[in-house]
Amino acid sequence: MGHVIGIDLGTTNSCVATMENGQPTVIPNAGGYKTTPSMFAVSEDGKRLVGHMAKRQAITNCTGTVYGVKRLIGRRFDSDEVQKTVELAPYEVIRGSNDDARLQLAGKTFTCPEIAAIILREMKRVAQEYVGEPVDEAVVTVPAYFNDAQRQCTKDAGKIAGLEILRIINEPTAAALAYGFGRSDEETIAIYDLGGGTFDISILSMGDGVVEVLATNGNTFLGGEDFDRRLVDHLNTWFVDNEAIDLSVDTMAMQRLKDAAEKAKCDLSSRDVTEINLPFIATDERGPRHLNVELTRDTLEALCHDLVSQSLKTCEACMRDAKVTPDQVDRVILVGGQTRMPFLQTAVAEFFGKRPHKGVNPDEVVAVGAALQGQALTADEKDLLLLDVTPLSLGIATFGGRFAALIERNTTVPVRRSHIFTTTRDNQRDVKVRVLQGENEVAAENDLLGEFVLSGIKTAPKGELEIEVSFDIDANGIVNVSARDVATGLEQSITVNAASTLSDEEIQRIIEENPPDAIALKV
């Protein structure tokens, strides 16, 4: 059996790992880095760059460089998140033909799965060079709160990258697998994962090589980049106050501010004060203006403490779902670069009443877990098992636009649930089943996964017919929904193929347009 790799496809950085002699290994890229920026660029002369190369030229080519595509993937163009990016990002985001978000780079339009595929292909290439043979199977991680469409688009990206995605697993779950590897103790653990773009909290129970997800929750609007953004805003405000120049209209300046803010934030994890020095950031009639300011850890904490509180609120909700109290948590594991922040570590320690575990590398642990799951699925010896859950409730739209959940979130898969519904009009001849995913009681506020019509049912006064709706999720997370007229046995069903933004033909076209070697660039 060939190598199966685990890829942590991050908002800001990606990481790849595989199993070597029964041990997980994080694979460094040619530059020796164990993580690779999730960035892609088309340079002015039409050259395609990815990873560190893309990041290095990002300042000078900010309209041709894409980052944070994970924030856009599988989302509708009109969604808040996409609109936020449209406002902030220096690159151009446009509306795609399926109302998805697409990127305009150097006169060419890219879909989000296409960009994600370029990054996945880069990770695949890094792995291939390391193991010295072709790699075509992978387990890829996504934030726990990714909905079906986002997961489907990630799978599409894998397909475009020439990788068979054996399984999509949640990032915190992967972290737990990595932590649990080689341990047989029975423990309840909390994974606090604050990455670049998203926040995830998961409560898991483990023992005897089995990892069971008790509950998972998260916030796709909260990540390390929000900390950066606060700093960027702060620096810009300072500049407006002191120099009377608004840098936010200048994409190049904003990119420099962003880079500086990110660096300062990291510095402040180990130091109390740092200096931000950005010479020639702007010019006006007075000549070139420079940004030179001292930033203290206290300032950063004052700017961002509410972001930390927000994350702890999500933790509380998750603990409620898991029916676990903080003192029942044996171990807290921090994942994601942002968790290096001392203030955050203190707040988390206070919340759980114990110091977080220091044994894992927050940047690499997710990829390691993905590699372990790849091994667990394909190896003959099964000594590790992940009992995963559905991250969002699944159900149908009912009378009055309400949402009736048939499978509650955090239900272990595979699972089958059904429920009897009835008609709401006399002599109704057909029933429309709208399959939704989400937590809102109002149907329209949740994501539509698919719909179908059960027609030709027996005519009867309203409320008399019994329509049995069944939801079935298999171990691969594939959702099958059926509706049956109990009296006649008439049945109709669909396999929910997520609202993938790309059709099979489109994926095929993209694969053909991007032969595997076209962007095999060295770092």
Binding site: L166, E186, S205, G207, D208, G209, V210, E212, K323, A376, L377, T378, K382, L385, L386, L387, A405, E408, T411, T412, P414, V415, R416, R417, S418, H419, I420, E466, E468, D474, A475, V486
Partner: protein, 407 residues
Amino acid sequence: MDPRREPEDHSVVPQQSADCDLGRLTLTPAEAYLLSRVDGQTSWGLLRELGGMSAEDVDACLRSLAERGIVLLESGKADQPPLLGVASVPVSDGPDDPRLDASLEIPVEAQRELLRFEGRLERPYHEILGVTPDAGVRELRRAYFKLSKEFHPDRYFRRELGPFAERLQRVFRKIAEAFELLSDPAARKEMKTSVDGAPAAGPATPRLRGRTTPHAFSLLARIGRERRRKARQYFELGRASIAEEHWVEAAQHLRLAIACDPANQDFKEPFADATEHSNQILADRYIKEADASYQLGEYADSYKRYVDALHCRPFQVDANHRAAKLAWRVEGDLKAAKEYAARACEVEPSVALHRKTLGQIYAAAGLYKNAQREFEQAVKLDPCDEEAKLELKTTRRMARRAPSGGS
């Protein structure tokens, strides 16, 4: 109808075999009816008394079911649920089980284990997990993890499993469900109170009190749905039987339909109709059998049959009269005898013979005044009955001697 074999131990508790797939069996309605009563709790003896079938039919059906391996008659202890792994439930999965397939990418041993487990999915949840009914969460989780490692579909990721793929999903779903519900204290309490301490997995659970949490809600819905589905199945069977004028079967099916879904008004009228026909038929049959036994001098059997007949048609005069006489003379059960005799008189007040019998029973019970009253009636109705006259005389004398004998 069945040649008597070695005496049977009626204290045995029949159990459904873990391995039989009910959907594929060919059963007579009587066998199916009986099988629906075999719950691993009720003893053979009790099954014979349950009604709906004669004791002999119960015996015949049980023997037939046991011979085919559908029901196990080993004297197992019903109150000691078999633990998993101990394999105290004998299974009929010999090496020639046609469902085993060595060409699949799942070891035959694992296939056999899966089949065995699948046959147990209707067992109470704690038995599925192989723990005691009062197991704590730690123990539950340990059992759940152990079983998950064995039965989670990921264990056979991308393997060719044929029909075992679906089996694996089904088994794991049930394991997860068992763990989910047992580890939820609220859901568990509900299960306990609703089934007298024995958390049941399947439709055996009769009803749960209303609760709003998702668990119990879905549990309730699942149970209710399952029962309604069964009810409809029985109802369809019942209708088919009515169409063929198999009234006895029809009544049995419809009774089960109503038991499964008491709220459904559609079942009521056909049931009443079928029951009436069924009672008529059964009563005639029982009376015929009772008469035959009576002729042969097998009075005890005869009495039982009359009693069966009167269950179906309580106001059949001759049967009441015969039953009264047998209860008095053979069983020595004067109370029953008086009831039957009185009913015979009540239905046809002007039959001297019945009056006389009732009088004789009163006299035997020492209720001379009542006896005297009946004999007076009898003599009035049939002045030529010398025996009645003599009885009247004797009773009058006795009644005077024992003035306190009232009714």
